[in-house]
Point group: C2
Chain length 344, copies 2
Amino acid sequence: MKRIAILIDGFSDLSAAKTAVSVIRYRRSEMVAVIDSAHAGQTAETVLGAGGDIPVVADLSSCPDADTLILGTAPSGGRLPSGWRATISAALRRGMTVVSGLHDRLSDDAELAALAVEFGGHIEDVRHSGCTDLATRENLRSDCLRIHAVGHDCNVGKMVVMLELEAELKRREKDAKFVATGQTGIMIAGSGISVDCVVSDFVNGAAERLVLDHQDHDILLIEGQGSLLSPMYSAVTCGLLHGCAPHGLILCYQVGRTHFRHTNVPIPPLSVFRDLYEAAMASLSPCRVIGVAVNGRDCTPEEGTLACRQIEAELNIPAVDVYRDGAGRLADAVEALRTEVLSC
Amino acid sequence: MKRIAILIDGFSDLSAAKTAVSVIRYRRSEMVAVIDSAHAGQTAETVLGAGGDIPVVADLSSCPDADTLILGTAPSGGRLPSGWRATISAALRRGMTVVSGLHDRLSDDAELAALAVEFGGHIEDVRHSGCTDLATRENLRSDCLRIHAVGHDCNVGKMVVMLELEAELKRREKDAKFVATGQTGIMIAGSGISVDCVVSDFVNGAAERLVLDHQDHDILLIEGQGSLLSPMYSAVTCGLLHGCAPHGLILCYQVGRTHFRHTNVPIPPLSVFRDLYEAAMASLSPCRVIGVAVNGRDCTPEEGTLACRQIEAELNIPAVDVYRDGAGRLADAVEALRTEVLSC
């Protein structure tokens, strides 16, 4: 058990602070504070909509019992926000562990690295795996079911869906394992490879490496990244998809998302994604979309319910909002696919 | 004009030495020697099937007039062949420029870097761009035609097709520019970004960067990499495809290639690739496959001709072997597409 302070100073809007929100939600019992000077005195629940009465404090000196500082945002491009250096330095001077998911490697920063050495602090650059494996498509265990989350865009809830699915399958006493492929997932699961930071030649290999490392479990729930049609990030998505060689896909969809994030490029209809993901797998190994996870954070409950019904009618597979409806029906679909795959 | 010696020692089979063969073919007038101890005394033509009477020599001391050493292979995974260190050291001690397309960065090697400084040599790690651009899909010039080579697998001739197409379009006095996206292409063109060595988050951005940097030309011929269904390298291919936002695709196909390179995974029919590449672009911007480049290096001329006829009948687009037939019909297809795009 750690005692975690999470830094979001200047990045408290929900879109920017998605790392913080997820870590708070899934490591709740280890959280001692949220650092955000603009909202000091409030609670995590008020500021981020998660975390209950975890206090929001102005700076690191206000949480003297914390032993771990997690950087709670990964801005587009992954650079270190300039205002954060002082807080990171202070944490290292206290001998704390600093966990970063940025592209900028804190351990490459001479000043920060020296502070860590001098004061016994630790830097964990979770985004950097150094993975240089090439995919071979060999040695995949045939009786380990591989489920992968994909989406119509990035930041639509792919990680959360897989974490909720893992929890539901474990409640059913199934041997299911969440496999993290991004910095937030790694912060939550404690292992994984941030595939978006792997050199592109090795992305497929990194995804396959994760499968090979965890296929002693019966069911792998492999976190997804980006979108196969993302103008910005499709390289990551495509390599991850092919490298993890899924039997089944959960297609994640945010109601009301009209354009790819950070662009003016319109997002095509969901059926286009279902068809494209399946076409991209079809000739390599049998794989189909078995359910849709609908993210209703930007719509009313009624709009969310309507979206689920419309998607079910169009695609003829379960469509659920795991926050509102739970992951039960998606877990049913996973179990049904496992039965089908094992009987082949 | 350089005086180039190219090192292939231990890698003289045609598949391993594809970098060397291409550099020899397209920088013929600058070549002074091929270094390959197993074939010393022969000619480049005999050993590599290209390069005419360029001598093959045993070691660097046999080509005292060379000022540039190019490493003539990029083995799978891109590591430095262990036996090459002595030759590279000798070149740097002579103050030569050493050009490497390996993932291993020669300039990160303390011993080699120190030699370069001490003796005035230069190391050019052409695979390493440090590109961290994100794609935006903004500022693309509407009257610059973007043509991109794609394929059913890696190493099927995508670069050569675009170089031959550039030469043919220039013969027709068109303002066409080959845009290199891999280490061999960069060695030939003198600029470019090796997208397979870019961190995966930035692959789409690197491809877009290349377009933005060269779109003052009327026609860009953007080198392709890998295959959208490659189990090993699809991340590179997908990011490059979306990032360069092509209007037209040249689909490259090697007759007799049955399995993805270095794998036991069978390659699906060519029509699957045509459909998948077009589907992957369809919702982003208008794009279609305008021709097939057939690589007949492993078949008889009759088999090559038959393959071209069958592909033309099935896909209803020109299919040609640019080595045997020239790039004329593909250039016609490019010119026709340019007329069509400009009239929109």
